[in-house]
Symmetry: C2
Subunit: 268 residues, 2 copies
């Protein structure tokens, strides 16, 4: 006989219970939860069941696990804001440089973009998508991968697709770059405008997760789009993945100095 209204599994019940206690203030932000053996005793379940509940809460970003130390309630995250003014943002000047909120200990740290690979586009799904967006065959496209970091930490990964003919030599080898978009535009003798930009969210795949030092499936903010010449000729397709909880893209619709949700940063 099929089971018609089963209760949810114990580890989920336990996760919800712990979340309720956190919400109720029993465990304030920064405080330590009971250890796994303690919870096993308290709730009368196996350690793996406790671990599944705790893992659930960690994926939900409600707690932080510090190996060898304990499990702690997470305080709300502070994020970098990257300002985009949709009235003035017409020219694509590159977007590497941002500044951190004053509240952050790491203020004034260097934002650095480093090319990790430059290859002819192949048959990957993303390569074909790029070709579609640029209206050119895959065979004429090159792909440049880069990581950008703030201090010692990797914050995001960018992939650029462009006609191989436009790829300047200084971008064809791994190493730091000052401003990839500007370098490209200058070397090709063109100016670049935004055609479109789009925002979505994905979970980190295993490759991106490795590079960023986050678990697979961590939420990443994806900003992708096409830049074109003033004639409307599409030239560059960019796909940037940023650790979702670390950054926020802000579009300002009102005049000169509109209030920002956090400390502003330079255009993106």
């Amino acid at each position: 006989m099929p089971n018609h209204r089963r209760t949810s599994p114990r580890y989920l019940q336990l996760a919800r219970l712990i979340q309720e206690r956190i919400d109720a203030g029993e465990f304030p932000a920064g405080s330590r939860l009971p250890s796994e053996p303690e919870m096993c005793a308290e709730f009368g379940v196996n350690r793996l069941t406790v671990r599944e509940a705790v893992a659930e809460l960690e994926r939900a970003a409600a707690i932080e696990i510090r190996r060898g130390v304990g499990t702690f309630v997470r305080p709300p995250v502070a994020r970098v804001s990257i300002a985009v003014d949709p009235r003035s943002q017409r020219f694509d000047m590159g977007s590497t440089h941002t500044s951190l909120p004053d509240s952050t200990a790491g203020q004034g740290m260097d934002v650095q973009e480093t090319i990790t690979a430059a290859l002819p586009a192949g048959t990957a799904t993303t390569d074909e998508e790029a070709a579609r967006h640029l209206g050119r065959p895959v065979a004429v496209l090159s792909r440049v991968e880069s990581v950008f970091s703030i201090g010692p930490e990797s914050w995001g990964i960018s992939t650029y697709w462009m006609p191989s003919a436009l790829l300047p030599r200084e971008l064809a080898a791994p190493g730091p770059v000052e401003n990839l978009v500007r370098t490209l535009a200058d070397s090709a003798g063109i100016t670049l405008e935004y055609d479109w930009r789009a925002f979505s969210a994905i979970g980190a795949d295993i490759g991106d997760a490795d590079i960023l030092g986050v678990p697979a499936g961590s939420p990443l903010l994806v900003r992708e789009g096409v830049s074109c010449t003033p004639d409307g000729e599409p030239v560059l397709y960019v796909r940037r993945r940023i650790q979702g909880e670390r950054a926020r893209f802000v579009l300002n619709f009102r005049a000169p100095g509109p209030p920002l949700p956090q400390t502003p940063a330079s255009p993106a």
Copy 2:
């Protein structure tokens, strides 16, 4: 003696191995992976170890697990595009209505927004953030929660904060709404403009995960912002969470009919 350069755990090695085989075309999109017992035998590990590897790939959205059936390689996802024209988008007319891509079986399905709760703002972190954004004390704010769904599935959750004095009666009770922003503006006799909008990505917390029917930590696209009167008086703070892989916000920077990455939709 501390362990100075340990190899990565077996389940991660196994996850990478499977991913490599998928990438190499050994398991094309849509095909079934070996069952858990088969992998246990092939790799000589316990079933839990296999399960951890598989879970890693599932979180990375590389595979799809169908209970009682098997584990399958995921094809690339099709997403809804929601168009935003940064040149014309100045008036906030509400954003409920979108249309699905023609490729989708569900085309023409109803987009419906349903209020699930309307409460005075309390002491939650998000309430305080809303109060800061609106420049008003928490005590005068109300919070309205809604879910919007396409057909039978929940696609996103919206939370609105506004001065309690502006909350019209028809929005103060659970039930479907036609256009929340417009209802609010009409009832208050004001027009609303965008002040700012921001995009970020987060993992679903346990509450949102329950409502959306996704696992905790699933990537959500967050679109938040303030709408104000033409004078610049902030009136409404909105925070919408959308299943990240199901939607994409598109900003078009060029003239009348710029190419969209996918089938366009009405303004958001």
